[in-house]
């Protein structure tokens, strides 16, 4: 289980996260949503341990992050974090990189040898997997980065905009299936940040909406519908909770052009 306890974070003197508390249970897919620049990626980086919150703490499986070296190492063995723009070794093949990442997480060699080709095949990278990453397209780089996170078999996956970055429809579908399968079979927890409601509506167990650094809602789709008073899709609910003024802004824009 992941617990975020009263987290506040600043960039310089600009507050980015304001007293955020939430939790994600084992086997749960939690989507962090909100407009651009409102703190989703920052919150994910705080949970991942890449940022140290100015106030507040993060607890994963009963252990506080960065409390003791032993606890921190235990957490790191359980968690994989994929930023929105991951670094990849351009002079190495995708297959080499996946094997190296798997070994870092102490995945047994036999399982790795079985898993890597299946992952490459899933993301349509069988041939490309043997070429240097420099030769990959943007979407293929996104796929190999996602495969890198999956190959770790970590029970906690923290993914920043996993569906963005040129991922094609088959890649999106494959990723959704993987998340669901990991949740069902391995009780994995997935926290992902995304600004697009349609991409997570069918897989997220709960949706946390962050606006202006504050957590304005964190519930299931049904719960959010009750909170917003709307009964439509996640996009409509999200619109009413976050971007209430956006329709009028659009009307205003087109009205001004007449």
């Amino acid at each position: 289980m992941i617990e975020v306890v009263h987290v506040t974070h600043h960039y310089g003197i600009r507050p980015v996260l304001k007293d955020i508390s939430l939790q994600a249970d084992r086997g749960e897919i939690l989507a962090l949503m909100g407009p651009n620049g409102m703190g989703k990626s920052t919150l994910l980086a705080v949970i991942a341990g890449a940022l140290w919150p100015v106030i507040g703490r993060v607890k994963i499986d009963g252990k506080w992050r960065r409390a003791t070296p032993e606890d921190e190492l235990a957490i790191r063995r359980q968690v994989v974090y994929l930023p929105a723009e991951p670094w990849l070794p351009k002079d190495r093949t995708g297959r080499e990189w996946l094997l190296a990442v798997g070994r870092l997480y102490s995945i047994p060699e036999t399982r790795l040898m079985d898993h890597v080709p299946r992952l490459l095949s899933l993301f349509d990278l069988e041939t490309k997997g043997n070429e240097p990453i420099a030769a990959y397209s943007t979407g293929q780089r996104k796929k190999i980065a996602l495969a890198g996170a999956i190959v770790t078999e970590a029970p906690v996956m923290l993914l920043d905009e996993p569906f963005a970055g040129g991922l094609d429809p088959s890649g999106i579908l494959a990723l959704k299936r993987i998340f669901q399968k990991h949740r069902e079979d391995r009780d994995a927890t997935v926290i992902m940040a995304t600004p697009v409601p349609e991409l997570v509506e069918d897989i997220a167990d709960r949706i946390a909406i962050i606006h202006d650094g504050e957590l304005i809602a964190c519930d299931t789709l049904a719960g959010l519908q009750r909170q917003s008073g709307k009964s439509g899709s996640l996009a409509e609910v999200y619109e009413s909770l976050v971007s209430a003024g956006s329709s009028s802004k659009i009307d205003q824009y087109f009205g001004g052009s007449r």
Partner: protein, 381 residues
Amino acid sequence: MIKRIFISYPKNWPFLNLKWILICLSIYFVFDLIALGLSWFFQVPIPPDFRRVLQQPQGWMLKIFLVYMGLARVFRPHPEGKPKYRNWLKTTPWHPGMPLPLGPITLNFYDLVLLAVTGFMFTKLGMHAELAILLFGIAYTIAVMLKLLSTGPARIDYLLSFGLLLMVWVLPDVRLAALIVVAMYPIEHWAIRHSLKSFPWEPQDEKHVVPLGWTFSRLGPEPVKIRVPVFDAFIVALLFGGSVYVTLSKSVPDVRQGVEGCLVFAGFFAALIRFGVYCGGNSNPLGIRARIATGRLIIPGFDQILVAPMLIAALLFAGLVLGSQRSFQPAEAGALAAVVVLVLFGMGPSLRRFRLTGAYNISKLNGKASRHNVSSSTANG
């Protein structure tokens, strides 16, 4: 004749690159030939002063040759640092205790012959015969120390370093210095045999290493490998302090002042480097402006890394103030240097602990900062 020598020279003397020996001897005897030629041409005996002028380059030739032999004696037959030889050796029935195919790393009878001959040549030049043992021994010891760093047992290097330091301290007594070098050999012999027991040492082969990127290197389950145990910090501090003491004891006052100045500068620089290593890729969670604005002037989880550099700066500053009032004794300078090195390497938090528990934000790094082993056989397929 030359061909016969090449064929018949002892095969278990692999360090002897016969070509080099012949070249060195040729250069050595060229000077004697010049002297003989001039004597014959002018039909007069060579003046002693001119003979001494000719003997100088001969002496240097011998010294360079012995240093080369001392180094080559370890580097040439050692499987570490020769991937092809090491990999081939792995496939053979060779095991520790058997002779190495390229010859022994430990010294043998032929080395005694070499030292006896070169020692004799030194006496002909009016120098100590023991100089041959000293130069060969120093080079051999340094080569062994370098190899032990990668093959282990690395801590024997400390013992050998103290030996070298003692040897420098007794100089210019060449006989005593040579005796110390000889006394160190049993330790080197044991260390080499011990290190061969852990063959093939599994070195990190650069081409088989895949960079992982900052997320995996900084947040992955493998902690930073750089560790300086307190014992090592203490020994290194003692060694450094001892070196400073010996250097200053052997220097004239003018040079001593220059050395002290360099050491103070190096101390400040080392403190900065330590701070840089801890900060590498780790940024302050709150800048100065933000600290003032939020009233959180001290963030212990981050500011702890400032303590050691500040303590070093304070020690050096105190040393500078004291040094301006009266001249420093070598023992005092050595003690100060030892304390500075102890703080530099031994004072907490360790880099590993700070990386795992410190209050910092990770800055995105070049992925080459992180590498992880992958064997070539599996990487391609």
